[in-house]
Amino acid sequence: MAKMTMIEAIRDAHDVAMAEDERVIVYGEDVGFFGGVFRVTAGLQEKYGQSRCFDAPINESGIVGTAIGMAAYGLKPVIEIQFADYVYPAFDQIVSEAARLRHRSNGDFTCPLVIRMPTGGGIFGGQTHSQSPEAIFTHVSGLKVLIPSNPADAKGLFLSAVADPDPVIFLEPKRLYNGPFDGHHDKPLQSWKKHELGEVPDGNNAIEIGKANITREGNDVTVLAYGTMVYVAEAAAEETGVDAEVIDLRSLLPLDLDTIKASVQKTGRCVIVHEATRTSGFGAELMSLVQETCFYHLEAPMIRVTGWDTPYPHAQEWEYFPGPARVGEALKKVMED
């Protein structure tokens, strides 16, 4: 066990994966010599050489497209999209190619590929460094979509993603890269360096894909959250005193519906939280699954607390970001309904 930031944990996970399997190849914009704009891959080029960790030209489709070719060859590419906001140019390669290679060739060619990207807001990054595009990936059959909320999960899920035989979208909540892990993210100009770190197991602590984690037990309402919002939900529960059960989904696709069902059937109430815009966000799928499977247990309408249906703003960041106050109101409301 070591104390680490999420960045350090993901870096450590790369190190473990690259040491274990020489087919693991890491690249992306600024990923090689410099070690990535968030320094996730720092030191890897030096340790594993230029042909296993290198800089890529600024072409996201090119990064994903070449990685698909590498995966088809038999390597295990792990690539970084510098910000999730920049994944759209690669969308065709992900949706039309990576996700369907196995199916359309009946397993003749496969695509074991990890596409990492910093996601979410809270760093005053404006509309091009803050988005949460997870929902659109969950609409694409053939992908898996993971999003850790703490350093240990980040490492463990990353290792499972690398071991997975299919393409995995690995979303890294950048607001958590260096903490805080306390749900009070709205201190924009405060240094990231001063927060408590997470305990991370040594070696290969692979965490099974598709298992949610109940981070706070409770009886009155189930809160479904992931990434940064897990801490917001916990803070809201503390502050309102509502006896909320907080589920950190960790894996959006495949989804741990059993854990969700069991919890909602126990509590009878459900609040869903995410940073992404509301309409057709992943909250819609969650709410639908809960209504389909827990209809007779529900005692009040479920509530979504989300980013608004606007581009991610710059100055109004904390009005956009679903903070503890907004989640707290939803908790109170769902209890009153």
Binding site: G62, G69, M70, L75, E97, R102, R104, S105
Partner: protein, 411 residues
């Protein structure tokens, strides 16, 4: 300079000839066979920029092989090439008709372009990987891949190796170096570069080939492929099949200005060559040169195969709506099968009789294989792959939500 300017207007390129017009290829500059010299494989790409504006040709008007790109193939190899091209054309004709008869949903043929994929196939080694478009089936048919399996795929029948999931002709065979075809243009051109990078990363000696149509060079992944191939000197041969037409749009819509497709390589320092795509010997020689460069770590090559799509774009269109029906006949580079046949006869290694006999044998083989395939089933005759197959293979292990959906579907 003046300070008053005429109103601007939009320039929209137009092909030389539309339905009703008389085709005119007199602007199309064709060097004589043998004129373009063969540089050594380790040539500096900068020193052969002129090759992107000329055309490598081996077979002359009289059917002789001339110049220093000639001489690479034995008569036996040439006869095999000829047979492969006839096979591809025969196969196409039968499958095109089968589609018209409602036995499948869709088909795309190679008419007039058979040399490109058939001649290239001979330049590859086992383990190399092609990333073809839908119009390079010669890369597969020239190997030992069973024609019957190709037909089963086209019919989406119970023995279709892809279990009915893919459109007809979207074959896949890892073993035969034929990457699963995508319906999305350009995506695989780029993937070929990644595969080649992987070969280099792994210290392998295999090479990849990427394929793209003239119209599809406009797609962005063409550019991405050039950027990555040049940056990492990937062992890849990037092939543009310039058959003059996309669907209804001629190559000028994709090409613009006065450049050539091959010249796209110059901004990247990539060795770039144009070749007579209807000249089996020239395509083979250039393919050999380029794969050799790749395999020796000398970097990527961009090849523009100059050819002509003599048929429709696919079974879904009727070319007479957008181009002159006489254009194919007027195409100055001739027909690839005729040209190789003439060459073999000229060098005393073939005859009209042998040709007629070969055609008959091949037709027999294709027809009898077709019967076998149709006995297994054709699209919509009820003997299709199971609906269960639709749920399989989305992931290596079926996740629970898909199992639930499969059950809900009743399979």
């Amino acid at each position: 300079m003046t300070d008053t300017y005429a109103p601007l207007s939009l320039h929209v390129p137009e092909p030389g000839c539309r339905p009703g017009d008389t085709p005119d290829f007199s602007d199309f500059e064709i060097p004589r066979a043998g004129d373009v010299k063969r540089p050594p494989e380790d040539v500096d790409p900068d020193d052969i920029r002129d090759m992107a504006f000329s055309i490598v040709r081996v077979l002359n008007k009289n059917g002789e092989a001339v110049g220093d790109w000639a001489g690479a193939l034995t008569p036996d190899e040439l006869r095999t090439g000829l047979r492969n091209m006839i096979k591809l054309r025969t196969f196409d004709a039968r499958m095109q008709t089968a589609q018209r008869q409602g036995k499948t949903s869709f088909y795309m043929q190679h008419l007039g372009e058979e040399a490109v994929s058939c001649a290239f196939a001979g330049a590859l080694k086992p383990g190399d990987m092609n990333f073809p478009t839908y119009r390079q089936a010669g890369l597969l048919l020239s190997t030992d891949y069973p024609m019957l399996t190709m037909m089963n795929q086209i019919y989406s029948n119970a023995e279709d190796p892809l279990h009915g999931r893919q459109l007809p002709i979207m074959y896949s065979s890892k073993e035969n170096g034929f990457f699963t075809i995508s319906g999305n243009l350009g995506t695989q051109f780029l993937q070929s570069v990644g595969w080649a990078m992987a070969s280099a990363i792994s210290g392998d000696t295999k090479v990849a080939t990427g394929w793209i149509g003239d119209g599809s060079t406009a797609e962005s992944d063409f550019h991405a492929a050039m950027v990555f191939a040049s940056t990492y000197k990937a062992p890849v041969v990037l092939n543009i099949v310039n058959n003059q037409w996309a669907i209804s749009t001629f190559q000028g819509i994709a090409r613009g200005g006065v450049g050539t497709f091959a010249a796209r390589g110059h901004g990247f320092g990539i060795a770039s060559i144009r070749v007579d795509g209807n000249d089996y010997l020239a395509v083979h020689a250039v393919a050999k040169w380029a794969t050799e460069r790749a395999r020796r770590g000398l970097g990527p090559t961009l090849i523009e195969h100059v050819t002509y799509r003599a048929g429709g774009h696919s079974t879904s269109d009727d070319p007479s709506a957008y181009r002159s029906g006489d254009e194919a006949a007027a195409w100055p580079l001739g027909d690839p099968i005729e040209r190789l046949k003439t060459h073999l006869i000229t060098i005393g290694e073939w005859s009209e009789e042998r040709h007629t006999q070969a055609e008959a044998e091949i037709l027999d083989e294709v027809v009898s294989t077709q019967k076998k395939a149709e006995a297994v089933g054709t699209l919509g005759d009820g003997k299709a792959p199971s609906p269960r197959d639709m749920f399989e293979g989305v992931y290596e292990t079926m996740p629970s939500h898909l199992i639930r959906q499969r059950q809900e579907a009743g399979y």
